[in-house]
């Protein structure tokens, strides 16, 4: 047998041996060891290539070609096998690591704003978009700002509408509405036009019940300018209602009474719970009273420093907890300041 044939025979043997041994291997590590055994330095294939170098010059190309073929085949076999093993290993791992995905999730602690803050923010955002800016004033105020300057001199019948907490200083009270802010804002900004919202806590001397609180947030609007009309009042408040209660909500305006506005109007919205057919929420009326409003009374304009012949304006006020109650069907207004965590966590 020529040297060449010996080499070819050896390569053939190596090829079939490798193919057989590869089949038996299970792990990647064993396979890699086997690869070194057959193809690494000193392996039969490595030796075969060295031997080819010693063959006569004319035999070298064909033998080399053959050896390369064998090397390629063995290489491919290894590669294929590596793929197979990887796939089966991965499949096993995937099965082993399988989770009971029905176990409950790890919940991060979540903070929440108080529902009253959320409601105030929602209302403020809508009016902010319309160009209203927040104006704050104090929760304690004087009789002068809370009543007198709002066209309610002492013993005025309209004062009956506001049951008032007085402090031991008879001139100082807890504001019964955010309206004293109207005077504060006007006196600060006169003679500029005004477009402000006045949010904040107000107080009324009322026995607490499911529908009455002695402490509540109110939000008031005040607009003063040269050409502000009742139509503008309606337009602003209707826009508000659509954004707050839905694009298709129906509103209606009817005469009301506030000493600091004239004409005065109450805005109702069609009950969004029953669509106006009467339910518990609207107490059978089909309409929900949402806010009080009106054109700023000339006396109030004057008290704020604006000439009522030159300026006009409108004001509106709404209770934001009440709106939140309607939206979320909260049955008891006392929930708000009780701060029961089981209530707060629902927002």
């Amino acid at each position: 047998m020529s040297e060449k044939n010996k080499i070819v025979m050896k390569l053939k043997d190596v090829q079939s041996q490798a193919e057989q041994e590869i089949k038996k291997v299970v792990t990647i590590d064993d396979l890699k060891a086997l690869q070194i055994k057959f193809m690494g330095t000193g392996s039969p294939i490595d030796i075969a290539f060295k031997e080819i170098g010693q063959l006569p010059k004319e035999e070298r190309p064909s033998t080399g070609q053959y050896a390369n073929q064998v090397k390629q085949i063995v290489d491919n076999t290894f590669a294929k096998c590596i793929e197979e093993i990887k796939t089966t290993t991965l499949q096993r791992v995937l099965i082993e690591e399988r989770l009971d995905i029905t176990l409950p999730g790890y919940r991060p602690a979540i903070g929440r704003l108080h529902p009253a803050t959320q409601a105030l923010r929602q209302v403020c955002r809508i009016f902010s978009d319309m160009g209203f800016q927040i104006f704050r004033s104090t929760e304690t105020d004087t009789d002068y700002y809370n009543f007198e300057m709002l066209n309610m001199p002492a013993h005025h019948p309209a004062r009956d509408k506001w049951d008032t907490f007085y402090t031991t200083n008879p001139k100082v009270l807890l504001r019964t509405h955010t309206s004293p802010g109207q005077i504060h804002a006007m006196r600060k900004y006169v003679p500029e036009p005004i477009r402000v919202i006045l949010p904040g806590m107000c107080y009324r001397y009322e026995q607490i019940s499911a529908s009455h609180e002695f402490q509540f947030n109110q939000l008031e609007l005040l607009v003063v300018g040269h050409n502000i009309t009742f139509g503008d009042l309606k337009g602003t408040l209707e826009d508000f209602a659509r954004r707050m209660f839905g694009e298709n909500v129906r509103t209606r305006f009817r005469p009301g009474y506030f000493p600091f506005t004239e004409p005065s109007a109450e805005m109702d919205i069609e009950c969004f719970v029953c669509g106006g057919s009467g339910c518990q929420v609207c107490k059978g009326a089909g309409w929900l009273e949402i806010l009080g409003s009106g054109m700023v009374h000339p006396v109030v304009l004057q008290n704020g420093g604006y000439d009522p012949l030159e300026y006009s304006g409108y004001a509106a006020g709404l209770g934001t907890e009440r709106i939140c109650m309607l939206q979320r069907r909260i049955e008891d207004i006392r929930y708000f300041w009780q701060n029961d965590i089981r209530f707060l966590e629902q927002f």
Binding site: G111, L174, E192, F214, T229, F253, S264, I341
Partner: protein
């Protein structure tokens, strides 16, 4: 106010359905709270805009009938059998009504009794059950006599809760007519606003309906048929202060007989919420409800007797302080010096406009009635009602203002009714003192004013047409409409106020819903930032993002409750309420922390862990200042388990430790550090401190530069004992929000992202226990210089290996240069400097 429909129809034609009428009233400012059906019905299967109660009378089952004979029941003394004609046929009807007993056994009645009659199958209210329970009449045998129908009481028909006897209708009631057609009614419960006080009467509401529907108002003529001797010389009036008593009218009715008023009068009074008494008293109430003028009837002969047999002089004056008067409700009033009294020469007779005195009131024995119709200063009436704690239908109206002209109308209307129902004779003439004539305002409006306030275009003639419906007298001159307020209302002012008042009336008549909604075209005001609100919102969002729940507490509390968290309490002044709603809510808070701790206490059993905060004002009275200082605070309280919920996997080998899951001091400190960092407030420092709420070893004041912004710590064990807390630590902070936010800048500058890699290195240093961590960290930073960009503590170790009284603190150090890749040698040089410095200054040893 309760307004029966039938009564309104005396003055105006109404062709609207009940709900349409209620809608109309609501839309002109007379909000209808409820419609009570008293016979009439509303359309079914239609959506209702108003709460509806009451009973509809079935036309074919409840009719007017006549009782021709009342016969004894064979087996029962307390029952009678009525021979009754329902217009078609005769029935024998069983009843126990005591008001039929007098007719028992008289044989056929010469004048049959007219009664409401419910046939078999009619739906009525059960007269024997409390409240209003519907029942359907069924055939039954009562004491051997078959019964299938009923003569009805007011209760059974839903007119009132009267069930003493059956209704006996007026003699002219048409037998056989459906009762609903004869007297079916509905009552509108209307909310009268203070500026519509003129409508607190039937005539007022009828006027509004006439105006809104543009129909004529059938105004009463106020004519009286006088057939008695003149009142002149029989009574006199002396008004001492016309400001308080602008008008006083007296009339006299001779020889009244106290009888029951006609049935329809009593029914109307009941429907309007008053109780019929007798023909004299009913006339005063009827006139008040109809015209709006409260009237007062005196027993004339008692007054003559008090005047020593002479004609009485009625004097109106303010009371002397301490003067006493017992009113007809039996209450003795000790009067204030501003209360106005109606008196005679012998003393006080009544509290003017509110309630009569017991002595001079009309009784069953009264023969001659002196009738007062007056006008009073409403503010004074209001003050008197408040100071004397009095309330009455008269006071309700007088306290809202009754026009002096209405006093005269009411007087006349009442005299006429009283004479008619009591068979009296009205004295000729009236005594009418009217020293302070109310001048009805005159207001000028123009289309321009209407356009400016309402945004609608109306011509002078359109304005006039709308206002005339409400009886305003208008003259048009070019563009100007001169408007006279009608002499029955006092809500129209003068000048610009009057214009606004008149414009409201124009808007009401035009219809608020008809005014088109517009978007504001006016100039926007100067736009300004509102940093306080913006920063506060940012702070709120950050606290929420860190898992804290906002709470909002009552601002009213007591000093005792506020003292709970503090071991020592300074004697601080409070804003105190003069009229607290309860003893528990009598002072404005000074401590926000106390509020939040109460909330924690209420919730602590409901959940494993709480992380709460509140922002809001505290109220601090200041010497010499009217209003207290309202400072905003931020209070945070953590207790119990950290709230992230996760389950653990344990097996036999793994230890089961829970203590590490509870909030501790460093949770809150970390929250505050992050809060300050996120608000870009650099240089926050926590200094060991001692506040009476906190454990002295676990307490810090929070400082930024010179400013102390608040305190934090773990509640003192003795404070914790005062609360119903569990045994885990309660960590709290109380910060000055205004001061904190004032230091927050608008924008912080953003640094560029480093391009060269850092060198990271850990070092552990052994120091004695007394050396606080921040001294070490500060020294490391100082020594590290520019190349040291971060120092982070990651481990504290104590143990035998490092010796008693020592601790080992392990830090990760990050070195980085902005302009090059730092070499290990450069970093090592910095580290060596640091270690050397720490050795020298703190005796620290590098732990290997």
């Amino acid at each position: 106010m309760k307004i029966p429909l039938s009564w309104l129809k005396d003055f105006v034609d109404i062709d609207l359905g009940l709900e349409d009428l209620a809608h109309l009233l609501t839309m002109i400012g007379l909000e209808v709270d409820e419609i009570r059906l008293v016979g009439l019905s509303v359309a079914q299967n239609k959506k209702h805009e108003f709460p509806i109660s009451g009973l509809s009378w079935e036309r074919d089952k409840i009719v007017v009938a006549q009782v021709n004979e009342v016969m004894p029941h064979p087996n029962a003394d307390r029952l009678v059998l009525c021979r009754l004609l329902d217009g078609e046929k005769e029935h024998i009807v069983l009843t126990g009504a005591p008001n039929l007993y007098p007719y028992k056994g008289q044989g056929p009645l010469s004048t049959p009794l007219k009664v409401p009659y419910a046939k078999e199958g009619a739906q009525i209210y059960d007269g024997h059950q409390p409240g209003q329970v519907l029942t359907i009449l069924k055939r039954a045998k009562i004491r051997g006599v078959e019964s299938y129908s009923m003569i009805c009481s007011e209760k059974e028909l839903g007119i009132s809760d009267e069930h003493e006897g059956v209704i006996i209708l007026d003699a002219d009631a048409p037998t056989g007519e459906a009762l609903v057609d004869y007297m079916g009614d509905a009552v509108f419960d209307i909310d009268i606003q203070p500026n519509m006080a003129r409508d607190a009467c039937i005539l007022g509401v009828a006027r509004e309906i006439a105006a809104a529907t543009d129909k004529p108002l059938r105004k009463p003529k106020f004519e009286i048929s006088t057939d008695g001797a003149s009142i002149k010389g029989k009574a006199a009036i002396k008004i001492t202060n016309p400001e308080l008593n602008p008008r006083f009218v007296l009339g006299l009715v001779y020889d009244v007989k106290h009888k029951a008023s006609p049935y329809w009068v009593g029914r109307r009074l009941r429907l309007a919420g008053m109780r019929p008494i007798n023909s004299v008293v009913d006339a005063t109430n009827y006139a008040m409800l109809e015209i709006g003028e409260p009237l007062h009837a005196f027993d004339y002969d008692v007054l003559v007797e008090r005047a020593g047999g002479k004609p009485p002089t009625i004097i109106t004056r303010v009371a002397q302080a301490g003067e006493k008067l017992t009113t007809l409700d039996g209450v003795e009033h000790v009067l204030d010096d501003f209360n106005v009294l109606v008196t005679d020469t012998a003393g006080a007779l009544s509290v003017a406009g509110i309630m009569g005195g017991a002595e001079s009131e009309v009784t069953d024995k009264t023969v001659n009635v002196l009738l007062e119709g007056a006008s009073w200063n409403y503010i004074n009436i209001r003050r008197t009602m408040a100071s004397q704690r009095m309330d009455s239908e008269a006071g309700y109206r007088m306290a809202r203002g009754v026009h002096p002209e209405v006093a005269l109308m009411g007087e006349k209307s009442c005299l006429q009714r009283m004479a008619q129902w009591s068979e009296g004779k009205i004295a000729a003439d009236l005594v009418d003192e009217y020293p302070l004539v109310y001048s009805d305002p005159v207001v000028q409006v123009t289309p321009a004013i209407v356009r400016r306030l309402l945004g609608i275009e109306l011509s002078p003639h359109q304005i006039t047409a709308l206002l005339k419906r409400l009886e305003f007298e208008c003259q048009v001159d070019g563009d100007v409409v001169t408007v006279n307020s009608p002499p029955h209302r006092m809500d129209i002012g003068t000048g610009t106020t009057g214009q606004a008042d008149v414009v409201e009336e124009i808007a009401r008549m035009y219809g608020y819903d008809n005014i088109p909604a517009t978007r504001m075209a006016d100039m926007l005001p100067p736009q300004r930032n509102n940093p306080v609100v913006e920063k506060e919102d940012r702070l709120l969002d950050l606290l929420v993002a860190m898992g804290l729940q906002e709470v909002i507490s009552y601002r009213l509390t007591t000093p005792e409750r506020e003292a709970r968290p503090y071991l020592t309490v300074a004697d601080a002044p409070y804003v105190r309420l003069q009229n607290p709603i309860s003893l528990e809510r009598s002072h404005l808070r000074r401590s926000l922390l106390a509020s939040v701790l109460e909330t924690v206490e209420r919730n602590i059993r409901l959940t494993e862990g709480l992380a709460l905060f509140e922002i809001g004002p505290v109220f601090l009275p200041e010497e010499g200042q009217e209003l207290p200082l309202e400072l905003r605070r931020l209070a945070i309280v953590l207790t119990g388990k950290r709230q992230a919920t996760r389950w653990k996997v344990s097996n036999a080998e793994s230890a089961n430790s829970t203590a590490a899951q509870d909030f501790n001091f460093f949770d809150l400190k970390g929250i505050l550090e992050m809060l300050f960092e996120a608000l870009h407030l650099d240089g926050i420092a926590f200094k060991p401190d001692d506040f009476s709420a906190f454990n002295p070893g676990k307490c810090a004041s929070i400082c930024l530069g010179e400013h102390q912004l608040g305190v934090m710590g773990e509640l003192h064990p003795l404070v914790k004992e005062r609360y119903d807390f569990s045994n885990v630590a309660v960590i709290a902070a109380d910060l000055h929000l205004d001061a904190l936010l004032s230091m927050v800048g608008v924008n912080s500058v953003v640094g560029s992202i480093p391009v060269f890699p850092p060198v990271l290195e850990d070092i552990a240093l052994v120091v004695t226990e007394d050396i606080p961590a921040d001294r070490i960290i500060n020294l490391i930073y100082q020594t590290g210089g520019k190349l040291l960009v971060d120092v982070r503590l990651f481990d504290i170790f104590r143990g035998k290996q490092i010796g008693e009284g020592k601790k080992s603190l392990a830090f990760s150090l990050t070195y980085q240069a902005v302009d090059r890749t730092l070499t290990d040698e450069e970093a090592a040089a910095v580290r060596n400097r640091i270690v050397r410095r720490l050795e020298q200054e703190l005796g620290a040893k590098l732990r290997s």
